[in-house]
């Protein structure tokens, strides 16, 4: 070919070569031209679609699944994580005798289907008959066993049976089981048929944090498109497009796993001892609204398929109950904030209060007596509370309930929250307008009730309960959820007065709630529980809410017990004070809160003592 350019000094040779060269060149060019045209025809125009077919046959699209983020407690203990698992499947039509290399040797052995059944059964820990049944048949796709760990899959692929496959999938594990199970929730995506078409769609049935933080946890799946050769290895020079997956972010909760476990233990024991329907505990940091524990007597294990529907959500947010006397602190703070009553204001308490034709009774009988307001709250007297509280107009009473957030969602980032119920004051009946003052005739979730105590403990500023502490990206960057600015409900002065009332409850009446070394304030609550099946009431809801240490409250604990099997007086006195004390002590010790250095300030219950003490 290069002969055409040969130098001139030898013209004869040049002419000979160029002629031959011309023929050869022309022939070559023509051949190339034909081939080129054919190539253009096949690859360029591709009327029969061969090139396209070939490309699609060697092209593999692989989804690169994004790893779902972990859910952790405040100390970084993992509460939920994703792992790889395999479904072992078989193409039944291809089941036959095959040869394989004996591992680590060059010798071959023959494996018959029967031998394979025994081997599979051993590896999968299944019955021989079950495996045999799975291999028999003429289905192209049959699942032998679902959800096996990678090491099991590895030993199966070592068997070398080409008709047994492993389908990779992601499984969600909950290493703590029932501890915090209902908070973490369950991750559950179910493929469902769309009505009226062949297509299916994924429906999210997740609950708890898994649901609320679903988008953050999920990440984005990536995709890898590449071409493979006949032996299954990627063609090095072939097309490759990679869209990297973005793994989900980790979510750190404010929950403390140890406190959560301790609270669950305590409340479960109490429920078993009293044969109650259920019990629930809220542990909260007063100053930023962080929730350390939402413990239930019964909780679902998110990793198990067996659980009761009602165990799926913490009862502290799902169950609206009549709070009872714990509401008296709300009433007391309201009348004190309005400047109508002081802790030492004296009331003439009759044995029974007749008001607008309604009789208000106390849980214990007493003669007519002159009591301080503190004495009324200390002994949880309905009569005195109504006398003080009725100084507020009906509208004021309603507004105060609303100010504390009753009847509204607390905004906690969990599923299944109930908003409780506060009927409009225009619809209150003649009795309800008084009973709401001591917590009957309204319904609140234990968390809503807890927020009264959080507000008082935080010296008047109500906060939104916080359960998600931070979102942590894969490279460890923490995006801490800020504490939302609170709402001032009562002045600091009023809050301190209310704290003093609560302290007197603990030192003069509910002594079981005391915690050694610390000043504690709290309030008992016993309400009749409205029956779920019939009109009227059956059983009681008994609770204790409190804060500690009183001089500078750090933590709020509330314990609620539904329908304990005990008579009314017993429930009122025993209740949940000891459980409150146990949990509060644990929390204070865990967080190394120094002992109180000041002494409790006692306010006398009766007028005569008041004169003596001043």
């Amino acid at each position: 070919m290069s002969t055409t350019d040969s130098p001139e000094p030898t013209p004869n040779r040049h002419r000979q070569l160029s002629r031959r060269g011309f023929i050869a060149g022309a022939g070559g060019a023509a051949g190339l031209g034909i081939l080129g045209l054919r190539l253009l025809y096949l690859q360029g125009f591709d009327p029969a679609g061969h090139a396209e077919q070939a490309r699609s046959e060697r092209t593999r699209v692989q989804t690169v699944p994004a790893l779902r983020g972990e859910i952790m407690d405040i100390n970084g203990n993992v509460l939920a994580r994703s792992v790889q698992r395999y479904n072992i499947t078989v193409d039944q039509t291809a089941v036959q005798e095959y040869e394989r290399f004996i591992p680590n040797t060059n010798e071959k052995e023959t494996i018959t289907p029967t031998q394979l059944v025994y081997k599979l059964a051993d590896i999968l820990k299944m019955k021989d008959t079950e495996v045999k049944a799975a291999l028999d048949g003429d289905s192209k796709y049959k699942v032998i066993k679902e959800n096996v760990p990678p090491e099991v899959y590895d030993s199966i692929s070592d068997l070398g049976a080409t008709f047994v496959y492993g389908e990779i999938l992601s499984d969600r594990l909950y290493p703590n089981g029932q501890v915090g199970g209902s908070i973490v929730g369950r991750f559950s995506m179910i493929e469902e048929a769309v009505e009226g078409s062949d297509q299916t769609q994924m429906t999210d049935y997740s609950v708890g944090i898994e649901r609320v933080m679903g988008d953050v946890l999920a990440g984005t799946d990536g995709e890898r498109v590449y071409e493979i050769s006949a032996d299954g290895v990627r063609i090095p020079v072939g097309d490759e497009q990679v869209k990297p997956s973005v793994n989900g972010k980790n979510v750190r909760l404010t929950i403390d796993q140890d406190i959560q476990y301790f609270a669950q233990q305590v409340i479960k024991k109490r429920v078993e001892d009293t044969e109650a329907q259920w019990g629930t505990v809220v542990v909260m940091k007063v100053k930023d609204g962080s929730i350390l524990a939402l413990a239930d007597s019964f909780t679902m294990d998110p990793g198990s398929d067996k659980f009761e529907l009602e165990d799926m959500t913490p009862r502290a947010i799902s169950q609206a109950v009549e709070p009872g006397s714990t509401e008296k602190i709300l009433t007391a703070s309201a009348v004190m904030e309005e400047g109508l009553v002081e802790p030492r204001t004296v009331f003439d308490i009759p044995p029974e209060l007749e008001i607008e034709g309604q009789t208000i009774n106390d849980a214990f009988s007493h003669p007519a007596e002159k009591r301080t307001f503190s004495g009324i709250i200390t002994d949880s007297m309905n009569t005195g509370t109504v006398m003080a509280g009725s100084k507020l107009s009906r509208e004021q009473r309603y507004n105060w309930l609303k100010k504390y957030g009753m009847g509204d969602y607390t905004g906690i980032e969990l599923t299944g929250e109930s908003q409780g119920m506060v009927t409009d004051y225009n619809e209150w009946d003649i009795r309800q307008q008084y009973t709401i003052l001591f917590g009957q005739g309204v319904s609140q979730t234990p968390l809503q009730t807890s927020l009264i105590y959080q507000t008082i403990g935080n010296l008047g500023v109500k906060l939104k309960p916080r359960i998600i502490d931070a979102v942590i990206s894969e490279d460890g960057v923490e995006e801490v959820r800020p504490v939302e600015e609170g709402v001032r409900v009562v002045s600091e002065e009023t809050a301190r007065k209310a704290l003093s009332l609560m302290e007197n409850v603990v030192i003069q009446n509910a002594k079981g709630a005391q915690v050694e070394g610390y000043r504690v304030g709290g309030k008992t609550g016993t309400a009749e529980a409205p029956s779920e099946t019939k009109a009227g009431y059956d059983g009681y809801t008994t609770s204790f809410c409190g804060v500690a240490p009183l001089e500078d409250p750090q933590f709020m604990v509330s314990v609620t017990l539904q329908r304990p099997k005990a008579d009314a007086s017993n429930v009122g006195s025993a209740g949940t004070q000891a459980q409150f004390s146990e949990i509060m002590e644990k929390v204070l010790q865990t967080y190394h809160v120094p002992f109180s250095t000041t002494e409790p300030v006692e306010i006398p219950k009766f007028e005569e003592d008041l004169k003596g003490s001043d």
Partner: protein, 228 residues
């Protein structure tokens, strides 16, 4: 050849203007030769040899590169598999740790090792050196809290399997102890002095504290679902 081979184009031309015509004819011939480089047949052959020897060399190089990329491809596949295996191993190990760390599993393990929870605790303020609280050694009390919470389900790791086993063991032990206690109480009604020493049985080996609770029907219910 030319007198001044280095500058075949320039200097002879300059000379030709000033010198004789005869010489100039010679000079033109010389010039013609100088324009087509004299060494041309030789250099072209050399070039040809270089070019033709380069072709197989380049081809060989391309082949080598191809072989290398292909074998790297295999390495890549192998490394990907290795990465996956390691990720899975890591996952499995982390999972084991987490199952062992679960509070209820730890509690069971602790009481099996004879550990007792203390409810009296003191802390030191590092800045002032002040101690709050009076620390006391834990004492084996009769109403030792026992674990009431079932181990986590999903029995596909060794850790969760052991945890379930331990919980089961512990439960049996507690039941046995309650039975023993009930018997002791029954005999105690006959001879009151015998009741006061339930701790004696625990001296030879660490044993979970006897529970003071009356057996309730609810304690030993739904554990079976975790074991299969």
């Amino acid at each position: 050849m030319s007198a001044e081979p280095q500058f075949p184009g320039r200097s002879p031309e300059k000379k030709s203007r000033h010198l004789s015509v005869v010489r100039s004819e010679n000079g033109e011939q010389q010039n013609k030769r100088a324009l087509v480089p004299e060494a041309s047949p030789r250099t072209s052959r050399r070039l040809m040899i270089t070019v033709f020897s380069m072709i197989p060399l380049v081809l060989l190089l391309i082949l080598l590169i191809n072989i290398m990329t292909a074998s790297r491809q295999y390495d890549l596949v192998e490394l990907r598999t290795q990465e996956e295996t390691l990720t899975q191993e890591n996952e499995a190990l982390a999972q084991e740790i987490e199952y062992y760390q679960a509070p209820q599993d730890l509690a069971v393990r602790a009481s099996q090792l004879g550990l007792i929870a203390t409810d009296v605790q003191a802390s030191i303020d590092l800045q002032t050196g002040k101690v709050t609280g009076v620390p006391l050694a834990a004492t084996k009390s009769e109403d030792q809290p026992k674990n009431l919470i079932d181990p986590p389900s999903l029995n596909d790791t060794e850790a969760s399997a052991t945890a379930s086993e331990r919980a089961e063991e512990q439960k049996k032990k507690e039941e046995a102890e309650q039975k023993k206690k009930a018997e002791a109480e029954a005999s105690a009604s006959a001879s009151p002095s015998a009741a006061g020493q339930p701790g004696a049985s625990g001296s030879s080996q660490p044993e979970p504290a006897p529970s003071a609770e009356q057996p309730t029907a609810g304690t030993d219910n739904n554990s079976s679902q975790n074991n299969n």
